[in-house]
Amino acid sequence: MLQRFNVKSIHLTPWESSLVGLILITLIIGKLFSENFLTSSNLGTSISSTVGIAFMIIPMTWLIIAGEIDLSVASIYGLTSVVLAYSLEKGLSFWPSLLISLVVAGLAGYINGVLVVNLKLPSLVVTIGTLGLFRGIAYILLEYRSFSDFPTSFTDFAQNSFGNSPFAYTSLPCLIAILISGIYLSRGLIGRRVYAIGSSQTVSLFSAIRINRIRVGLFIFSGLVSGVAGILFAGYTNSSRANNGAGLELSIVAIVLIGGISMYGGKGSFFGVLLAFILVTSMTSLMNLFYVSSSIQYTLVGSLMISSVAVPKIFSKKF
């Protein structure tokens, strides 16, 4: 069992090696041009500000492998933090509010799931619709107000780190979630079934896989995880606004695709997604140090995403 995790047995695919190469280039550029890049304080900022993204790439990877997509994740992220704020505003104590907001997040995912699976609608259009719907509900609840009256124990948990280390408290559950999901996706029962569903739904159906149950489950999972990420972000910045996380779906989908997950489903490894996450995070962090505006960052992430799907196509066509 142990020898499976032997270093020698890890061999990277060409895609993963090129991601490692890009990460190294980014780190070297960062080291050369900025004194503050490879420091523990910058690492700490990067980790605690990207915990949410690290959480959300997990369900998105699973969904895209299963041949679906969820573009409403950023809206669920915003809606959950707003529901938490709204319930606290209405005088509920913290734990019931947390429960309510997580239920809302799960329900939001369930709505996506039912529409996609039971009504057999394309997940792309459904989740564009719910992207508007959930964000709209967030605006209805909180309008342009910002809520920051969270209990300090919660914001402390979301903001502080272990001792003087750069690792935030929130990074521990995140790391555990990533490890479990990574191993479970490649070796676990449901993980293999998700791959099977993504390769061929018909074959999976005839192989006695309960595809509908798994697909609805994936959407609920996606909603819940986005909700957790949204709540942690609200705690980290100590503010809930209706536009929390607007546009985040681009980064999430981009990281998953840059990680080499096939956009047609059924192919790709979670390890590649992790590498892509490290790549995008270190690039973003570097650009933040140079005060590069967010519009340029979005442009870069968008073009990286397009090229990550275009480059393999160009090579496979052999011009």
Binding site: L121, V126, G129, G132, F134, L250, A310
Partner: protein, 339 residues
């Protein structure tokens, strides 16, 4: 029991009517919205509100025709909001810099900008056969990013624009706003292309069954590219109208507009699975979305509801499509496309 029989014949004749006129339910929804809003607010049935309504519906419809073409070819274009914003800023900027530049040139520049951006989408989607959502989701941010990189925090406001520039959109004829006539002309063109040209029918064939269409010798690459070119060009034109009508444009112009347009198009009955849809539907879908946005403001519902309603409209529309299709069997798809 005669009562039930009567009901069922009424239902049957309604079904027959909707088979012949698939846009009829949309017209009924429009009429209901009109009645509802005019009962709730006495400011709704005034010329200024109606022309405001027609203007916002017209911009949606102009972009919607392009989006309908894209959806019928079984693709999607979510980058149109960014294209509208891009073209709106640059045409306004050019018009503000140089007051003597002739208007048709300004309009052409806007359309041209849209077509260039659309052809970027089209090239990647059609040549590399990459799922259109991945491409246009990327370009949604790339176009917007490039736009705000160039524009920065600049803003063109109405005071810099010549009077003649705003005349592109702010003329009236028979009491109706000029925008409405642009939309009508574009819808008629779109309808004619979709229903009465070889390319239009080939597009629907491609959307319903790409493999079969290719075996029939339909050049899918060229068609898909053209579809994005048209969609981009129309979004560019809408950008010019946007700039001319609203006068104030900056790097956030048109942000989130793709949601409205998609809502109007799917409410108009264009299938999200490709292959079917009518331009008349798009027209009435845009009218419904325009009516909702203007009407809600008049009955003092906060603007915050608008986005939620647009999202809900998409979901309700695509769900209804599936429910009706299941009920009517497979015959509907071919019927819906023949208006």
């Amino acid at each position: 029991m005669p009562n039930i029989k009567n009901q069922s014949t009424a239902l049957d004749s309604w079904r027959k009517l909707t088979l012949r006129l698939p846009s009829l339910p949309l017209v009924v929804v429009c009429i209901f919205l009109f009645i509802g809003f005019s009962l709730k607010s006495d400011r709704f049935l005034t010329t200024s509100s109606i022309s405001q309504l027609l203007i916002s519906a017209s911009i949606i419809a102009i972009v919607g025709v392009g989006e309908a073409f894209v959806l019928i070819s079984r693709n999607i274009d979510v980058s149109i909001g960014s294209i509208v914003g891009f073209s709106a800023y640059f045409t306004a900027h050019i018009a503000a810099q140089n007051h003597r530049i002739p208007l048709p040139v300004v309009v052409l520049i806007g359309v041209f900008i849209g077509m260039i951006l659309g052809s970027v989408n089209g090239l990647i989607v059609s040549k590399l056969e990459i799922p259109s959502i991945m491409v246009t989701l990327g370009t949604l941010y790339v176009f917007r990013g490039v736009d705000s990189m160039i524009v920065g925090s600049n803003e063109v406001t109405a005071q810099f624009l010549s009077k003649s520039f705003s005349r592109i959109s702010n003329w009236t004829f028979l009491g109706l706003p000029g925008m409405f006539f642009y939309a009508v002309v574009i819808c008629i063109f779109g309808w004619a292309v979709l229903e009465h040209t070889f390319s239009g029918r080939a597009l629907a064939a491609l959307g319903s069954n790409a493999l079969a269409a290719k075996k029939l010798g339909i050049k899918s690459t060229k068609l898909v590219f053209m579809v994005y070119l048209i969609s981009g060009g129309l979004a560019g034109f809408a950008g010019v109208l946007w700039a001319a009508h609203y006068g104030t444009v900056n790097s956030t112009t048109g942000f989130g507009f793709e949601l409205v347009v998609l809502a109007a198009v799917v409410v108009g009955g264009v299938s999200v699975n490709g292959g079917s849809g009518s331009i008349a539907g798009v027209f009435f879908g845009s009218l419904i979305l325009g009516t909702i946005s203007v009407g809600l403001a008049l009955v003092n519902v906060s603007q915050f509801w608008v986005q939620a309603i647009q999202g809900a409209a998409i979901i309700i529309a695509i769900s209804l499509e599936v429910i009706f299709k299941n009920r009517q069997g497979s015959g509907r798809k071919s019927n819906a496309s023949t208006v």
